[in-house]
Symmetry: C2
Subunit: 421 residues, 2 copies
């Protein structure tokens, strides 16, 4: 779109809408357009791989959940953002904002003995929250993507061991998405001292956390017993600073709360009925997508990490009024495009003929694909393409015959993004 949406209340909404990644249907409800869906899919693939690495088995639960299990857990009235609706025969349903009410009786049907534990299942699915103040683009939606994993254990010790393993793996998931997530102690509810949030520092964040500059220990203000400038309780060396941040994930020890509600026990070695301990692990792919932009952008637009960019290379060919020059440019760009794609490099090619160079460059900056390659009369006179990485200010010429190899090396190299949010 030529203009940024005038009602955008956040950087991610403004840039993602203007660049055609998402389109708003209603407050907190978005369509993912082709570029945006590519990013979302890549984030989902990353979290899927990370959950498989901790032995999670992927399933897919329904969004429509009958009332009965919500009554069993006494959450039908307790969850204020529950979307409720009537089905045929006047039956009550809720749209799932979380799935303990489905997954607990589900696993109960298959797990009978302590020998069947531990089990960990996850899904990547759209969640619904009847959010009165949906806002901030993809950060607080009413329909949004979620990866929710639930683990089941025969003992608290086993839950704690697995919880720590997932806690660690989550850092890898966020890092692969280009986010430097801070593990932050948060309220653990009734059954556990703490839960853990994954917070990404950004001035646009709505959460306040306190973090030690030395040991990186952090705590959410909601439960903090420290204030800005205090000495760190944990390491005793650093100073605790107030940081604005966005929560991009959270993990909880649920203890036996949900298993107890459903009478889910397992047969122990001596034949008696043992309790079942649960953990749950949330990660929001759409919120991660919005957070990446809050952190990685500049005045000209978005700056996607290579790992989740909709394409690796933004190829721009500049048209020319002389037909034979134009044909040379088109041919060179086509060759480059085909060679890169054949090597598995994802290329989007701006071959529009009626658009000025300046507008094409502005669009490329807005869309924020990490590497821009330009083919024009000027670059071809040097037998080259112009190479410019999105986070750099200077462009340089790379000989056409070297572009493929240099691109492959660039793609394999570690990310060099720094936060600007």
């Amino acid at each position: 779109m030529k203009e940024a949406p005038h009602d955008a209340d956040s950087v991610n909404a403004r840039l993602l809408v203007q660049a055609g990644f998402i389109n708003q249907l209603a407050a907190g409800i978005y369509t993912y357009l082709p570029l945006g869906l590519r990013v979302l899919t890549k984030i989902k693939t990353i979290i899927r791989e990370e959950m498989q690495a901790v032995g999670g088995q992927e399933i897919l639960m329904p969004a429509l959940i009958p009332k009965a299990p919500w009554e069993a857990t006494k959450r039908w009235d307790a969850i204020d953002v529950l979307f409720k609706l009537k089905g045929a025969g006047d039956k009550d349903f809720a749209l799932g904002p979380t799935h303990e009410e489905v997954v607990t009786p589900l696993v109960q049907q298959y797990v009978k003995s302590y020998k069947d534990l531990p089990v960990s299942v996850y899904q990547i699915q759209d969640k619904f929250r009847n959010e009165p103040r949906a806002k901030s683009g993809l950060l607080r939606g009413r329909e949004f993507a979620m990866k929710d994993m639930y683990s089941f254990h025969a003992s608290l010790a086993d839950l704690e061991q697995y919880y720590d393993r997932v806690k660690q793996q989550y850092l890898s998931a966020f890092a692969r998405c280009g986010l430097d997530a801070i593990v932050t102690e948060a309220s653990g509810g009734v059954f556990s001292k703490y839960s853990h949030e994954y917070q990404v520092a950004t001035t646009s964040g709505e959460d306040i956390i306190y973090q030690c500059g030395q040991c990186r220990w952090a705590v959410n203000r909601e439960i903090a017993e420290v204030k800005d400038g205090d000495a760190c309780h944990r390491c005793g060396k650093g100073v605790v600073r107030e940081v604005k941040a966005i929560e991009v994930g959270n993990i909880f020890k649920l203890s036996t709360r949900f298993a107890d509600d459903f009478g889910f026990h397992v047969a122990l070695e001596d034949g008696s009925a043992g309790k079942v301990w649960m953990g749950c692990y949330g990660f929001g792919p759409s919120r991660v997508m919005g957070s990446i932009i809050e952190v990685h952008h500049d005045d000209a637009g978005m700056r996607w990490p290579k790992s989740v960019a909709p394409y690796h290379v933004h190829l721009v060919s500049l048209s020319h009024k002389d037909e034979s020059v134009k044909n040379q440019i088109d041919e060179a760009a086509q060759e480059l495009h085909d060679a890169l794609e054949a090597a598995g490099v994802e290329v989007v090619w701006d071959d529009r003929e009626d658009v000025r160079a300046g507008e094409k460059f502005a669009d490329a900056d807005l869309i924020g694909i990490p590497l821009r390659l330009v083919v024009s009369e000027k670059t071809l006179s040097e037998g080259a393409a112009e190479w410019k990485e999105r986070h750099e200010t200077e462009a340089r010429l790379v000989k056409l015959e070297d572009v493929l190899q240099e691109t492959k090396e660039w793609l394999a190299a570690p990310e060099r993004l720094t936060s600007h949010g």
Copy 2:
């Protein structure tokens, strides 16, 4: 599960639930368990590839749709299966059973000129229908997977050309899923003489179609002007027979109906406002999954085509009371497993120790993975594994060193399934 569910009203529900592919949460509402989700994902991948082959661009629209666009098309009250709900601020929403109301105003925002057409967008998303008689497992659900594509054209001629192209491509999509779909003329609604359904012949089908044995022309009974035994109107050579069938897809020419409702026009070459012609193309991945089982099963269980089977190979190792023999068996099975997986063959390995051979074989037949390989003391005494394809009655021995190569050749060979439903 040891026993088939007593309340299953269809073959697909009985077998998919018993074998642990799906789990019923409520009437017409299912969880996909790991095996079932693998099948569903493969079907989605096939239809995604086929839609990309006709230039479809993938997007993802929301399930929550505000009331306003439904009023614009006068379908808020007309669609009797619309799930309706209230959001914050007492706002009305529906859960999308179809997405013309979202996609038409969406594309309208980006398409301004006839030069921007044609455009074709699709999504693979969960749909909702407040179905009073949800039944037949995955065949008639209240929450179900759908691929819906919508195409936009500057002329009827362009729509018709594209429609024919998609009509053809759909046959490839169904064939790749192991379904022999019959293109069937059906009611076209107000704006078009016919729509086209894709019907799969099976005795459990609820639709009645008439099909010519010679030219394969078919028509749904709802609009048929022929009866069983009539001469074919189309080719004049064959005889028309009544066939029970399941509808697995349908395509419609929508004419300008929805574009008109939203005032969606494009600027023509002479500057005047031109009409926009639409087509829509539905394909139900979950219904396809159920239909595959209705067609491909026998008394012992399911028989998945290689293309959508949850795994290619069901490896069974039989335990032995002698520890050293047991170790030999485990080692041989592990080697086979690793060699196959390294070659990209998907293997599920039944290494349960406390389960009899007969039970393992019965489970393998039920689950229906196309190739079963057994490693036991008996097969190892011949330096071999037992090879049995699901649709064959006889097993044979294959030397361990030949299994990998034979499996690769088998996987690359055309499908040899025949219908038994």
